[in-house]
């Protein structure tokens, strides 16, 4: 149990640093727009700092607590937005977010596993997927550069992502056959 006679800034930063990738990933499933995503992250961090004096729990609880704060920030933002039809319904959002908070361990595991999975990808595929996510890159331009169609490139990327997703589910320490990746593209 973390006891705070005095609010400790470095403790807060340490916990925040640890939980940040998980909170960010959790938010991604609930918010599609990147600008909204950043705004919510920022607001969630500010709120967490303001309310940190009231937080009582251990290190594992902090991540869950941050996710709950982020969820409230999403609800708050949704109230201010003119909602369009193509946004997840409140009910569905509630379901996903509750499951996300309850199953925070999986999110933590996925984040942890992702780096290993990327290392296991063949280098050209790893470079391709990293490049696609770089700022100022468009699928159209990349497809033209590779002399292929955007659709074909999308297909390839989906296959890579699917393989990565499969790999992220493999528990750490599972035996690998002949040092080949435990998944294929």
């Amino acid at each position: 149990m973390i006891r705070k006679n005095k609010i400790n800034r470095s403790d807060f930063l340490r916990l925040l640093a640890k939980s940040e990738p998980v909170v960010r990933s959790y938010l991604r499933s609930l918010v599609q727009d990147y600008h909204d995503h950043s705004e919510i992250m920022q607001n969630a961090f500010i709120t967490a700092w303001e309310k940190y004096s009231k937080f009582e729990g251990d290190e594992n609880d902090f991540c869950k607590w941050m996710c709950v704060i982020a969820r409230f920030q999403i609800l708050k933002l949704r109230q201010t937005r003119a909602r369009n039809k193509w946004v997840l319904s409140d009910k569905l959002l509630e379901k996903i977010s509750t499951e996300g908070v309850n199953d925070i361990a999986s999110t933590e595991r996925w984040v942890e596993k992702l780096e290993d999975c990327l290392q296991e990808l063949p280098k050209p595929n790893r470079d391709l997927i990293k490049r696609v996510y770089s700022p100022n890159q468009t699928i159209k331009a990349m497809a033209a550069e590779r002399e292929t169609t955007p659709d074909a490139l999308y297909q390839k990327l989906r296959r890579i992502r699917k393989a990565l997703a499969k790999c992220m589910d493999i528990p750490p320490g599972s035996p690998k056959k002949d040092s080949a990746p435990a998944y294929s593209i």
Partner: protein, 548 residues
């Protein structure tokens, strides 16, 4: 979970999910816990790949990297080398390099940082350059000739001289203190001592500004017309430069110099700073006057229509006194066709300078100062906007901006400002409604833009207040489904005993009422389009101090 579920998630995260598949996607996601888990996992994947690629390193990693990086000495060494090169390539002042026409000397510093233009663009209106493909904002006003087909341009030289030019015509910047004009109307204002001796050349004469302000019209076929508003200018003949004459605002038409074709025109009054913004605003008002969604438009200028027309639509509270109300107390609704909103009548207030040169505003300076208006009915969609400038301190704990005369039914709306300058909105019968307030800003001492919108967003009624183009607070009423402001009082409140309370000590300008719910983008654009580009500040106000 099957492959098609996986593909739908992929499409959603890519932002490529077609509209016709949206319902299917939502439905499947709702039904299948496995799909939701996969959705969360792919979101983790997507987000972390994105974060890695934009260099958004994990905070934990950043925390660990607190020791100085090993490449720091190399950066220091590189910086030293660059400094050495700069000092080597820049000759000392005492040994100026010989100027050679063949080899133009380029200083490294000028390569690293582009020099600022000789003249800074302050404002323009309806401006069209001949053969110009660039917009005025993209033009670097350096040495050179500028031919203007039409429109107005405001430039500032060296933070010391304002030059306002109206086309058609052309001018050439010869150096920071010398501009040649072959045709066009000019107004020049010297702001400080640095700007003295700013000179304008016409085809026949030279005008040296010794401070501070004059108008000059130059036409290739006739005499130059000049009028000095402040200070003095020296007029020289371009042919015999030893002939010159000082002109001041006291110079009469008879004092026009005989040695050069220049005529003093005491009526000449070229454009003043800020007027281009005023022109822009006038254009906006004309558009609003024809907008079918606008129900009321008030610019607080003196009425241009007859009293008989004004009397056809007056606020009912003034019914008994309508014959005695002076003409100047009417504030006409300028909308061309819509008659939903009456003309206004003010009490205890007076007209003051508006936000633009030669524009009007309403100064609500007395305890019972207010403006009365009537609206025809209730509006399910409603918006209003105005500009407000507090006059000194706000006098009351609550200062009433707008509310109905009688506070008695659902739909009645009141907007108030607290003494420290925070905005509040109150709806009748909704004392405990949920309120969302993203902003903690306050009214400033300068002009503030206040906007209000009411209407349904995604089946939910929203009542929103905006300050300076940004959402200020928002409430979601439970019972109110329309705004009812049939008899409106602006500037204070009138209680059931007929007393006027909660005076809003401010100047009110450009009041607009709509029968639609403006979006936040419309409000932001409306606010931005109403902002002046030219503002009076310490620099421009210093102009009077250099008059000889």
């Amino acid at each position: 979970m099957n492959d098609s579920d996986h593909n739908l998630i992929e499409l959603y995260l890519e932002g490529n999910l077609p509209a016709d598949k949206w319902e299917d996607f939502s439905h499947r996601l709702e039904q299948s816990a496995d799909m939701r888990r996969e959705f969360r996992k792919l979101s983790v994947l997507d987000e972390n790949l994105r974060a890695q690629s934009i260099g958004f390193a994990n905070l934990a990693e950043r925390e660990q990297n607190t020791t100085p990086p090993t490449y720091l000495p190399w950066i220091v060494a590189a910086a030293c080398l660059v400094l050495t090169f700069i000092s080597w390539s820049t000759p000392p002042q005492s040994f100026p390099a010989k100027k050679s026409p063949a080899t133009k000397q380029v200083h490294l510093a000028s390569v690293l940082q582009p020099a600022p233009p000789i003249a800074k663009l302050i404002d323009f209106y309806d401006l069209q350059f001949q053969d110009a493909t660039k917009s005025p904002e993209d033009i670097h006003f350096d040495l050179g000739k500028y031919e203007i087909e039409r429109g107005q341009l405001h430039l500032r030289f060296d933070d010391s001289v304002e030059l306002l030019f109206s086309g058609p015509g052309s001018f050439e910047i010869l150096n920071p203190k010398l501009v040649s004009v072959t045709q066009g109307n000019v107004r020049t204002i010297v702001l400080n001592d640095k700007g003295k001796e700013f000179t304008i050349l016409s085809p026949t004469s030279r005008y040296i500004d010794w401070g501070t302000e004059f108008s000059l019209n130059i036409s290739p076929s006739g005499d130059d017309l000049v009028n000095v508003h402040e200070g003095a200018i020296e007029v020289q003949c371009m042919v015999t430069k030893n002939m010159s004459k000082m002109l001041t605002r006291f110079s009469k038409v008879n004092d026009s110099p005989k040695f050069t074709p220049v005529v003093i025109d005491k009526e000449l009054e070229n454009m003043i700073p800020g007027q281009m913004g005023g022109n822009r605003n006038q254009k906006l008002l004309e558009e609003l006057a024809a907008d079918p969604d606008v129900i009321g438009l008030y610019d607080f200028k003196y009425p241009q229509i007859g009293k008989d027309i004004l009397k056809q639509r007056f606020p009912k509270v003034w019914e008994g006194d309508i014959a005695n109300i002076s003409f100047h107390r009417w504030i006409p609704n300028l909308h061309l066709s819509n008659t939903d909103a009456s003309h206004g009548i003010f009490h205890g207030a007076n007209r003051a300078n508006g936000r633009w040169p030669q524009s009007g505003a309403l100064n609500l300076f007395q305890k019972d100062a207010h403006l009365s208006l009537d609206l025809k009915g209730e509006y399910e969609n409603f918006s209003f906007a105005c500009w407000l400038k507090p006059k000194g301190k706000l006098n009351n704990p609550l200062n009433s901006l707008i509310r109905p005369y009688r506070w008695k039914k659902f739909g009645n709306l009141s907007i108030e400002v607290t003494r420290p300058g925070k905005l509040k909105q109150v709806l009748w019968g909704e004392p405990h409604i949920e309120e969302f307030q993203p902003s903690k800003r306050k009214l400033t001492r300068d002009w503030n833009h206040i906007a209000y919108t009411f209407g349904k967003v995604d089946e939910k009624t929203v009542s929103s207040l905006y300050l300076n183009g940004k959402l200020y607070n928002e409430v979601f009423p439970n019972f109110t489904d329309s705004v009812d402001l049939r008899n409106v009082i602006i500037g204070c409140l009138n209680n059931k005993y007929g007393e006027y309370l909660n005076q809003f000590n401010a100047v009110l300008d450009e009041l607009v009422l709509w029968k639609k719910t403006l979006t936040k983008y419309e409000i932001k654009n409306f606010y931005l389009s109403g902002l002046p580009t030219y503002e009076f500040n310490d620099l421009t106000l210093a102009a009077t101090s250099v008059a000889p």
